[in-house]
């Protein structure tokens, strides 16, 4: 086998080795954590009844999947995705409107500030009364938690556009619409992607919180129920599934980021 020794090859090899090293360490951290957890419960230094254990979680997961786990997962996932998508789209449209009209922005500014600092969970009872307990109200809760932050951050990213670039486009005779979709929007893409990342986290918060207070199905419901009947295994198993789902959704957004990065010749900025 030939070993290329150009600086480039060396650099690439070093980089790949670095990547492999990090990945190994990441796996090791997880293995040590799970191993210690399992060991401590096996030797009964800590009580698996209170803290569960990896093996018990696995067994519980097996049980759950043979019973009616899928519908619970499906409901939570659907609530989260719908809440996320609706709030992202609505938030985007609202941010565009606020960017478009200075008057609208100035009129609504104090309301947005107040809404932003309001803990949305406080609206739980009202939501239940208005739309009833169930999927709709949970999507509503998710929506409320996501929307304000979405509007504020997206608007912020639109307004951050360089004034000189706007002048440049105006001097070319560009309309406001053209300035928006040829300059302001593509300029905001990196921030928009961070908003999506933050939002996906918030959507999970909204969904699970919503399920805590007003649901009879879903992972959040299972967690609360498991806590009430002291089935820590059930709680942990549900949390594991949550982690996997949240991770997957984050991964999808990271792919989106990669897509834009590629299209822009290697950098988002």
């Amino acid at each position: 086998m030939k070993k290329p020794c150009t600086p480039r090859a060396l650099y690439l090899r070093k980089k790949r080795n670095g990547k492999i090293k990090v990945l190994c360490l990441q796996v090791a951290v997880l293995a040590v954590f799970l191993g210690a957890w399992e060991f401590l419960t096996q030797v009964r230094l800590v009580d698996a009844f209170f803290v569960s254990s990896p093996s018990r979680i696995l067994i519980k997961l097996g049980q759950l999947f043979r019973q009616d786990f899928m519908p619970h997962i499906g409901i939570t996932l659907l609530e989260c995705i719908l809440g996320f998508v609706i709030s992202t789209i609505a938030g985007f449209l609202a941010a565009v409107a606020l960017w478009w009209s200075d008057t609208l922005r100035r009129v609504l500014d104090p309301y947005i500030v107040v809404l932003n600092s309001l803990p949305k969970i406080a609206l739980g009872p009202i939501i239940i009364i208005w739309v009833g307990a169930g999927m709709k109200s949970i999507i509503m809760m998710t929506f409320l938690i996501c929307i304000v932050v979405t509007v504020i951050s997206m608007l912020q990213s639109f307004l951050a556009c360089d004034k000189n670039k706007v002048f440049l486009m105006q001097s070319m005779g560009a309309s406001k619409l053209q300035i928006f979709y040829k300059l302001v929007l593509p300029n905001a893409v990196p921030e928009l992607i961070s908003v999506l990342k933050i939002n996906i986290g918030l959507a999970w918060v909204g969904t699970i919180m919503g399920e805590y207070i007003m649901s009879s199905a879903g992972l959040g419901h299972l967690i609360i129920y498991g806590g009430q009947v002291f089935q820590i295994d059930l709680v942990m198993a549900s949390i594991v599934v949550l982690c996997v789902l949240a991770g997957l959704m984050y991964f999808l957004i990271a792919r989106l980021e990669k897509f834009f990065r590629k299209r822009r010749g290697g950098s988002l900025q």
Binding site: Q170, S171, M172, G173, K182, N187
Partner: protein, 251 residues
């Protein structure tokens, strides 16, 4: 020859919550077709304001401005504005940046895009058509910015301190490039700068503005007959002109 730009007794006062600022007072100036006119003046006197008026980004509070005989009422896309920073869009390739004006004005026909490509080829950016701005040096980016303003064939080029973000060496060579391009394409240009040597090396005429509120203090018609800015800088007459303008700006 015909006037491209006619500024007649123009005044401009900025209004803001705290106070009003009279930036321009009774400015009159004509730019003929094919001319290269430089505006110099103390910093903050209102040089950029003159260009903003010519671009239709601002409306004069007194007097009138005409572009090619027509009163300027707003932005029309008939002027090409080039600023201190190149303002290339990072997410667009060089070709896409250069054709921005064509796109905006819905003139992105194959012929016009071909013209933009030819300009890039001709002025040494042919290999970078598909590159992104960050892959180019400062001087190349400024050249791309100029080609962007040329691509939609504006009647008039407005250059607002287009070289001041570049280091000295690059500035001299980009200055040469830009001058060559503008001459070669037979464009009319109005340049704002606070660098007097730059004005003397580039312009056919130099307009000296007074401190704020800016009035036209004096207009010099230069007679250094040299083909490039660098050659002009080497001309014996250069320092004489420099001193004259410099004294007038400072006086």
């Amino acid at each position: 020859m015909d006037d491209i730009l006619t500024i007649e007794n123009v005044g401009l006062t900025y209004q803001s919550a705290a106070h009003e600022t009279e930036a321009l007072r009774d400015i009159s100036l004509r730019v003929k077709e094919g001319e290269f006119v430089a505006i110099v003046g103390p910093s903050g006197c209102g040089k950029t304001t003159v260009l903003s008026l010519a671009a239709g980004l601002l409306k004069p509070t007194a007097g009138s401005i005409r572009l090619g005989g027509k009163e300027i009422t707003g932005t029309s896309g008939e002027v090409g504005y080039m600023l201190q920073s190149d303002n290339l869009f990072a997410w667009r390739t060089i070709l896409q940046n250069v054709t921005l004006g064509l796109e905006v004005q819905k003139k992105n026909t194959p012929e016009n895009i071909e013209y933009a490509k030819q300009l890039l080829q001709k002025y040494g950016l042919g290999d970078f058509i598909k590159a992104h701005p960050r892959q180019l040096s400062g001087g190349m980016r400024q050249r791309a910015a100029l080609i962007r303003t040329l691509a939609f064939r504006p009647k008039l080029l407005l250059l607002d301190e287009p070289f001041s973000a570049l280091d000295f060496q690059t500035r001299l060579s980009v200055c040469d490039d830009v001058y060559a391009i503008i001459r070669e394409e037979k464009k009319t240009a109005l340049l704002v700068t606070h660098d007097i040597s730059e004005a003397v090396s580039l312009a056919d005429r130099i307009v000296v503005l007074s401190a704020r509120p800016a009035t036209v203090k004096r207009i010099y018609t230069l007679d250094i007959d040299r083909p490039t800015p660098l050659k002009r800088r080497e001309d014996p007459a250069f320092s004489g002109w420099f001193d004259k303008v410099w004294k007038e700006v400072g006086a």
